[in-house]
């Protein structure tokens, strides 16, 4: 196993968590991770030159997720899923309270809102870094973050992060 394979193997759990939050269920998230891993190995010459590989890979993941939601296939699958209202598969040993709250909450978020939550609060990226990853303005990141947090708060009792609280109600760019 070479360095990149070792790296990828070690990152799979973190990628699965992020993909789950982006997609709203484990199976679709795992499919997304598989595609990103394939992309990673098809671009290894570029990947070798990346300084922050974690951020690079998670950006690939987020863009893939957003893009697939935009695509015809993604819209079709999303519509089918919404009609069928499938049960979100949660890990059997997870905190049942969390399982009950987190899954429906993240499913209420729009794809880009999920992306900002993953990038900012799971990957701990700054507003600026998130904006670069999502190819949007920092203002859009703030407004999407604020909206996402409002939605999450209606489902979960979470403390509003200080920086996000400051933009709730602010003007959207």
């Amino acid at each position: 196993m070479n360095d990149l394979e070792s790296y990828a193997a070690g990152r799979i759990p973190a990628l699965r968590r992020a993909a789950y939050l982006l997609c709203g269920d484990w199976d679709r998230g795992d499919d997304l991770v598989q595609k990103v891993l394939t992309d990673l190995f098809s671009h290894w010459a570029r990947v070798r030159r990346v300084e922050n590989l974690d951020a690079y890979v998670h950006t690939m993941l987020v863009r893939r997720a957003i893009d697939e939601r935009r695509s015809w296939w993604g819209r079709k699958v999303a519509l089918t899923d919404a009609d069928a209202s499938p049960e979100v598969v949660a890990p059997p040993d997870a905190d049942p309270t969390l399982r009950m709250d987190l899954a429906p909450a993240i499913r209420q978020l729009a794809p880009r809102q999920r992306a900002v939550i993953v990038l900012r609060y799971l990957q701990d990226l700054s507003v600026e870094e998130t904006a670069v990853a999502m190819r949007c303005s920092t203002g859009t990141v703030k407004s999407q973050t604020a909206r996402a947090l409002v939605t999450l708060r209606s489902f979960m009792d979470i403390t509003m992060p200080v920086d996000a609280a400051s933009v709730v109600g602010g003007s959207e760019r």
């Binding site: 394979e5 484990w26 098809s42 030159r49 863009r63 709250d101 009792d157």
Partner: protein, 380 residues
């Protein structure tokens, strides 16, 4: 649930991963590697075949290729009048998708063997989102062999492509990302290969094959754009001529490589130039001038101990010379390091140490090497 930090909530909610049968790392490695090799094969095979065709075409063609001047292909009503030379790109992209239209040429190569390629990469963020590589082959060389090789290489995944300006094409879909290769038979002997790769479809106005077709339809020929570099040198004396040029993008370690050879070494097509791999620096016979970021370890291809010396112009230099290899490394100029590598005994004879040090003095790096608007023609 009690109040908690959002990050902790997200981590806790996803802490125990369910088993997955959908993630298969070995399969991702296999498929990703296959895509990468397919992409490389489709470009490098054509380069190799173009070289073979050039060799078959005979000394007259070689002399024409390497004369330093630029030849025009025999014009016909259906054949664009392409001209080739080591320091000119005779076509430009009239249309590119998305932000690539605003992107500078990331790398280009114009080799003496008629292989001409330009590549555009949008790398404004961490992920290089889109990459279009256009390669045109000299219509004066025999590329019917190339056609057969391409067909053989691409047989598994290729389908007949659109007819573009009356000429046929082949499309090869690559499964990773949104990518593929359009091979367009521009005329009886000239081929255009367009490699389109995007990390997401928003970069493409349509499907990758439609995007490639539109790029092909809008190619402009006969533009004769000079290949510009962040440095220039005085043309070496004697029979040495520029036989290949290369610019690498800023994502690479190298800002530019300029190669010289003589008529006994007509082929200087660095096949790795057109691949996604790093070039095998300094191993092909010839004399090369490299510009790369300063601060990297000073290493010569022959791994010999470097001796400190001074050029005739008073610059500090580190050198190592043997009967078969030579290397001169100058102290950084405008933040970049200049290296001159001489590979091959005939090249060492053509440019021994004293001549190499004098040649090093002719290297002029532009004041702002990373600013492409300040780049210049590389041979004075």
């Amino acid at each position: 649930m009690m109040s908690s930090d959002l990050r902790e909530t997200l981590l806790a909610g996803t802490a125990d991963l369910p088993p997955s049968r959908r993630i298969d790392l070995p399969r991702a490695v296999r498929e990703g590697t296959r895509v990468r090799r397919r992409r490389q094969a489709l470009t490098t095979v054509v380069a190799l075949v173009a070289v073979a065709g050039l060799a078959l075409a005979g000394p007259a063609v070689l002399r024409g290729s390497l004369s330093g001047g630029h030849r025009s292909a025999p014009a016909s009503p259906t054949q664009p009048a392409l001209s080739y030379g080591p320091l000119v790109v005779d076509f430009s992209a009239g249309w590119l998708p998305g932000h690539l239209a605003d992107a500078a040429v990331d790398r280009s190569t114009a080799s003496g063997d008629g292989l001409v390629g330009i590549e555009f990469i949008d790398d404004r963020s961490w992920v290089k989102d889109a990459d279009v590589k256009i390669t045109v082959f000299d219509p004066s060389v025999r590329t019917d062999f190339a056609a057969k090789e391409l067909a053989r290489q691409a047989s598994d995944d290729s389908t007949p492509g659109p007819t573009i300006k009356g000429s046929p094409s082949t499309w090869t879909h690559l499964p990773a990302g949104f990518s593929g290769v359009l091979t367009w038979r521009l005329s009886a002997k000239a081929w255009v290969v367009i490699d389109v790769e995007a990390s997401d479809s928003s970069y493409l106005v349509d499907l990758p094959e439609t995007t490639a077709q539109r790029i092909a339809e809008n190619l402009r020929f006969g533009v004769r754009e000079p290949v510009l570099f962040p440095f220039s040198v005085l043309a070496p004396e004697g029979t040495l001529r520029e036989v290949g040029t290369l610019q690498l993008g800023q994502g690479s370690d190298m800002l530019g490589i300029l190669e010289f050879g003589d008529n006994s070494m007509p082929i200087s097509s660095d096949h790795t130039i057109m691949s996604t791999e790093a070039p095998d620096l300094g191993r092909s016979p010839g004399i090369s001038v490299y510009l790369s970021p300063a601060g990297s370890e000073k290493v010569c291809p022959s791994d010999g101990a470097l001796a400190r010396t001074t050029t005739p112009g008073g610059q500090e230099a580190f050198v190592h010379f043997t009967a078969t290899d030579g290397c001169v490394i100058l102290s950084p100029v405008h933040g970049e390091e200049v290296r001159i590598m001489i590979v091959g005994s005939s090249m060492v004879r053509a440019m021994p140490l004293d001549a190499a040090l004098a040649f090093a003095d002719t290297v002029q790096v532009v004041p702002r090497p990373k600013d492409r608007t300040s780049w210049v023609k590389p041979v004075r």
